[in-house]
Symmetry: C2
């Protein structure tokens, strides 16, 4: 009988070895030998499990995304109040962008760079799709908030993009300089400002009044 290995398992092992290499060096600078070295196998062996460098890269992307989605799903499953949901979403993101995940994150930047240019072609992966999905998730929560009168009626699509953008943008700054602030405090402040801002909308007239009667 021939030698038998668990193909699936070994594929995943290679993937997990590849992710930090991609994250550290970027797609282009990452050579197949680097991945082979990290996985402690020969270069040729990689091709027993992946068709190409590109395939590893895309697989790595989905691997990281899947993990993130699982965290969000777990956090959100047991919440009913939409405003709570929004807060729990922030918490989920805090978890995603912390500790263990930290070393996987830089990989996203390359997907952005790639995704932004591949937006027209129906690529295997699509940055647009990921933004769409996340924006929709936030929008749905916001819509529910509006429906239940928790926040003032706003353009929820735009506000969702603001929230998503803020988290996204802070993450990039944080990756660039982790000493600057903790992602926890950063996201907390974001949540506070935005939630306060949304609820405040309601009081627009009061601000006008306040101007007439300055303190």
């Amino acid at each position: 009988m021939p030698k038998v290995v668990d193909k699936k398992e070994k594929r995943e092992k290679i993937l997990e070895a590849a992710i930090p290499v991609f994250a550290k060096k970027g797609i282009v600078a990452t050579k197949m030998v680097d991945i082979a070295d990290a996985a402690e196998i020969g270069k040729g062996t990689i091709y027993e499990y992946f068709k190409s460098k590109d395939e590893i890269f895309i697989a790595a992307f989905y691997y990281v995304m899947k993990k993130a989605e699982n965290i969000i799903a777990r956090r959100m499953s047991s919440v009913d109040d939409p405003l709570e949901k929004l807060k729990f979403l922030f918490d989920a993101w805090k978890e995603i962008f912390s500790s263990e995940f930290r070393n996987h994150l830089e990989i996203m930047i390359d997907f952005w760079a790639e995704g932004i240019r591949n937006k027209d072609k129906k690529a295997t992966f699509s940055l647009k799709k990921i933004y769409d999905e996340n924006r929709k998730m936030i929008k749905d929560i916001l819509d529910e908030c509006v429906a239940k009168g928790k926040i003032y009626p706003v353009n929820t699509k735009i506000v969702a993009s603001v929230i998503l953008g803020a988290l996204d943008g802070e993450m990039v700054q944080w990756i660039t300089d982790p000493k600057l602030f903790t992602i926890e405090e950063s996201f907390d402040v974001t949540a506070e400002i935005i939630l306060t801002g949304l609820k405040k909308e309601r009081a627009k007239n009061d601000i006008a009044q306040k101007k007439r009667r300055p303190t």
Copy 2:
């Protein structure tokens, strides 16, 4: 004597031809021939004006940055009130991220991807430095707002990073899918939410008052 050309001017001409190519294809996919074709010169001629592909790329980066800085400086020069300043900053960004500039923006993504990995080395250009500068600009305005009692005392460094992040993140979404929203409405909503959120803190008492005397 041979034909005389303005070296500076021609260098800039090449640069301006290179920027949209970089923006469209990304650093790696952009070949020297592409730049040469775009500038309508021979491949070899480029090397009369630039030492390397990398040098063009970095020069292109500074070229775009400089333009953006000029717009901001112009917009901000004639404003005194710090809250107005903040609004004008949003306006400046709206201008930067619109029309003529649109085609230069994708280039930033590659700088992010590169900058994020070069954060340790003292690179010729640095994403960290750019974030630092912009964050400082916002922070200074916020500090002034706080000092003059326009907004409630907050951690201005964090809030500055939130504002910067929000604009940054929205830009990326917009580049990914320009049909989704206009950058104008997106930034306007951001400004509204954030400014309201910040002022809200201070108006806490007023809201409490309001509850006592509802309109």
